[in-house]
């Protein structure tokens, strides 16, 4: 499994000179499965650049497969790029969208609220691509070579986390998550921790870390994790590597650099191995193999290098 981060920002795009390195685009991660097909995690504004890159780079093998998009939920920062994803406008492309069910309306109808007037100049039915929608509650299913598991996690509104297993490697993606709301993560039993089974023993966990601990005091119940809970969740679930994600739009590159240093220190205090936890940066590429996570160009065996590309 290979992956590339196309957007790691939370809540709202945050472009500008102060966010150049970590990036301003909202949630989107490209996953290339072992059969070369593309799985996309969320359709935040990062998906626009991904779509443009796919247009240029897609191998014949990749074009032969449908593009599967797994949506964690329908908050704007996870669907805003949808309408600017070039394959949506190609008659030959087949796009399969997976997302949480709601008793109120179908997934297609809920997404169509955004892709329709007056918010958009097009309607879902006008899109020339072959577009299908699947609602998924807590369940497992197969997409190509990958076993996908979805589970409801603690956020605001119906929200899924995903566990993706392909060729013996496991990626867990829970970008919006507040597992510590009303629960002491350090002491509560595993079975009572939201998202535990999804993340347990993964090779790579991509997880919410929107707030510092002091910011969290003013955002209790907003659906996102402070640093302490993100690290504690990682300690409890034991993934090999952790990419912290969904950066607050107010956090500049300099701020995030300082946070990255603090994270490493606090992770060490929790007894975690060095180099395992870092902040996601836009365009970061990783390769997940059976026993390590590394950037594709690097061939050195463990101990694996830091996840973050040099700025």
């Amino acid at each position: 499994m290979r992956l590339k981060v196309w957007g790691a920002r939370g809540s709202i795009p945050a472009p500008g000179p102060e966010t150049m390195r970590y990036g301003g685009n909202t949630s989107c991660v490209e996953v290339t499965l072992s059969d070369n097909s593309t799985l996309i995690l969320d359709a935040g504004t990062g998906i626009r650049h991904l779509g443009m890159a796919m247009k240029q780079d897609r191998s014949e093998a990749a074009v032969a497969h449908p593009v599967n998009i797994l949506l964690t939920h329908l908050h704007m920062d996870h669907i805003q790029g949808f309408m600017f994803f070039p394959p949506m406008f190609e008659a030959g492309s087949e796009i399969v969208v997976w997302g949480p069910a709601s008793p109120e309306a179908s997934l297609r109808d809920r997404i169509a609220r955004y892709i329709s007037a007056p918010l958009a100049p097009v309607e879902v039915r006008e899109l020339p691509s072959r577009l299908t929608f699947h609602e998924t509650d807590a369940q497992e299913w197969q997409i190509g070579p990958a076993r996908i598991r979805a589970q409801a996690v603690n956020h605001r509104g119906p929200t899924l986390g995903y566990r993706i297993e392909d060729n013996g490697t496991v990626l867990c993606y829970i970008p919006d998550h507040e597992p510590g709301l009303g629960a002491p993560l350090a002491s509560i039993e595993d079975e009572w921790i939201s998202g535990f089974d999804l993340a347990h023993g993964a090779d790579l966990l991509i997880h919410d870390c929107q707030y510092t601990d002091s910011e969290y005091d003013h955002h209790l119940g907003w659906g996102h994790s402070p640093v302490s809970d993100a690290l504690e969740f990682a300690r409890r679930t034991g993934p090999a590597r952790v990419l912290l994600f969904h950066h607050d739009p107010l956090h500049s590159d300099d701020f995030l650099d300082r946070l990255d240093t603090e994270l490493a220190e606090r992770w060490a205090q929790l007894g975690g191995p060095a180099g395992c936890v870092s902040l996601a940066t836009e365009r970061l590429e990783l390769e997940l193999t059976r026993d390590r996570v590394q950037r594709p160009a690097e061939a050195a065996p463990p101990p694996a290098p830091p996840l973050r590309s040099p700025a």
Binding site: A101, V153, N154, A183, E189, D190, I193
Partner: protein
Amino acid sequence: MSAQQRPLELILARNLLSNLSTPGLLVGDGGRLLFYNEAAGAIVGRSFEEVTGFSAEEWTSEFGPLDIDGHPIAYEQIQATKIVRAHMPFHGEFSIKAHGGRREIALTAIPIVAPDDSTAAVVLFWLTDGEPVPAHAAHLSDRLREVDGEAAP
């Protein structure tokens, strides 16, 4: 990893209860006692940690509710069980065993219905020793008859 992870609605229900000063418990689909909070523990005289994993039979024999003769009522026969299984809330009066004695409580049970239709319950209760039975008892009997009628062939 220990037991399989609980579904989110139960995790949230437990988190809510654990932050309440109102005595409350969480009962799973088959009647297993999934959790009760510190306020409930103070009333019954045992902390939840001591009774973790109690089956329906175990907790009803330990805590009740009790019939008029002071015997525990079987879980399947408790009015609240029947009403909640019909996906309706319940409010009623019971006697329970607490600190080795008999206490009177009022309780409200709220069904927590999962996407797969399994039904747990959040139960909040209050000590009412000596308080008069509230006027909604008659209304409650009507609803019980409805539920029993639906269940009958």
